[in-house]
Symmetry: C2
Subunit: 340 residues, 2 copies
């Protein structure tokens, strides 16, 4: 059994002796050790597809930062790729898809992916699970269907995702068709991750914030709900819908265990709306640019505001690559040493 | 006197016979007529600095779209330029500053701008005011100090504005020094605009959303408040802090008349928090990609939700350039024909 299961117990609403902590993008460029491993692969896609390297960087934050959970190193865009839309990761520009979804025919041509189409992630998870040797739980993840849809239509990152939103407004039926296909693929994918050893699942709806509330409910939350229904009987699941500040209460009614919060949400407001679900977050990633005194003061203010039940400390978004490793470590220590 | 003063009366909380409407970025690329005028200037900066051309595009939406207010064509970045930081507008990339603010010395070197440093905007306003011939009010505007600060430090647009936020966390005193200087320049600038003929002022805090709430209150709202105190005795003022969803109640306590809302805010939530201030917004700009039936249904839903008192219809952000002119016109007509 797990030596440190604080994150899982907090996710299930059980009392923990201290607040658990992990960091989004902890297996990432913020660690020099990650950059060294990354240099062994030819490109980003090869890196993601190499189970040995993915395992190596997934374990690094446990040894180096002392966090209470590992998250498997991968990318949310492996799903569009497995469904038939390959992508490239362009340095300092982000993802780019040669082919995008424009018509019903494009949607029909996509396959519903299953774990075999993503065998390299399954391999990375089982390797990591083995090498973690039950020290901490392993978190698996996927992009929420709307976020995956947004990249499939837009073909790249975007400030507004206006092409993807235009598709929702002009082709609502085809939108649902595509979202349904992404959802089925994601459920297969996550069930595979759980079978391979993932102890908890996090769904990232990174682009929830570009949608108007009614669109979020119709085109995003509905599919997140289906995924929760499929995953929660197996392991706990966290829903992180970035910038969907208006939806906390609706998310709390899903079959999910944890609600991820970005840094624009007041802890007290979230508690009021979250129906006693466990909350995760939500320090501003830029806080880690500050001096240690400020980091400690602000982190403790956050911990007191959330309280030490039903809470997992984290940032409100992924770590930025230019933050000093020492500061990240210090943030983790502040949480672990906190006495309420 | 003004023939159509609906926007001003709504801003002051007076009853109007119908809901007034204008659109952020109505003087912009969405109009072919704008693009024709734009082509007469060598580059974007020359365009902004040409009072005749600025006047021409400011009046176009009144003739073409039938909106209830004109907004002067300009750019929020004229303030950093007037203070000593020139910028370029790079096609499909956005603004770029050769020199940015890094040290206290950089801040000391900036001047506090006044209306003489921005004489071309004053000229554009008085020309436009004259040519409008009292048909509708003319809106003047400026960027809120935090948004201007963000560009001055970052030197360009950014998804996270992490350099600007890093400056807030590591140099809070110098941050206040710079914000104070921007605020004084902005007050001078807006007083000049009012003297030249602006009937209402809107402050755009376009990057409020990257800040955590406590940072927004300390580094943004405080300076917005000073500007409201200086402007409101002269003309009504609108505060639009995009994505600062948590701050509506705090904004409503400022000496402002109108609160601008982005499209992620439920009208009912805003009404609850806004202390009977007039609200402005908040259709999703992407709604205008939809067919006319959907535009009409969704617009009327929005108008009913806000009600016809203390309300100015608008989008929740600027018009996107690839929206059809006919759809924009149709949105305006839907508002003007609406019977509650």
């Amino acid at each position: 059994m797990l030596k440190n299961d604080l994150v899982l117990r907090a996710a299930r609403g059980e009392t923990t002796e201290r607040i658990p902590v992990w960091l989004m993008r902890q297996a990432g460029r913020v660690l020099p050790e990650y950059r060294a491993t990354r240099a062994k692969a030819k490109g980003f896609i090869e890196f993601v597809k190499s189970p040995d390297l993915a395992c190596e960087v997934s374990i690094q934050p446990i040894d180096i930062l002392g966090v209470d959970a590992a998250i498997i190193f991968s990318d949310i865009l492996v799903i569009p790729e497995a469904m038939g839309l390959p992508y490239q990761m362009i340095e300092s520009k982000g993802p780019w898809f040669e082919k995008t979804i424009q018509t019903k025919n494009d949607i029909d041509e996509l396959i519903i992916a299953d774990e075999n189409d993503l065998h390299y992630v399954m391999k990375a998870i089982s390797l990591t699970k083995k090498q973690l040797d039950n020290r901490v739980p392993l978190i698996g993840f996927a992009g929420a269907p709307w976020t995956i849809f947004a990249y499939m239509i837009e073909g790249s990152g975007s400030k507004t995702f206006s092409k993807a939103k235009q598709f929702l407004y002009t082709q609502p039926e085809f939108s649902h068709l595509l979202l349904e296909k992404i959802t089925l693929s994601t459920i297969n994918y996550l069930k595979g991750q759980i079978k391979s050893g993932a102890d908890l699942i996090q769904l990232f709806d990174s682009w929830a914030g570009v949608l108007a509330p009614e669109q979020f409910y119709e085109f995003s939350l509905k599919y997140i709900s289906k995924i929760c229904d499929a995953v929660q009987p197996l392991v706990p699941i966290t829903v992180f819908a970035k910038d969907a500040h208006y939806a906390i209460n609706k998310i709390s009614k899903l079959n999910c265990n944890v609600i991820g919060l970005d840094w624009t949400i007041h802890p007290a407001t979230a508690r009021e709306q979250a129906n006693e679900k466990t909350l995760q977050g939500n320090a501003d990633p830029c806080l880690l640019y500050a001096d240690k005194k400020t980091i400690k003061t602000e982190t403790e203010k956050m911990l007191r505001a959330f309280g030490n039940k039903n809470y997992i400390a984290n940032l409100g978004h992924g770590l930025y690559p230019d933050i000093e490793k020492e500061k990240v470590k210090f943030f983790v220590e502040c949480v672990k040493e906190f006495k309420s």
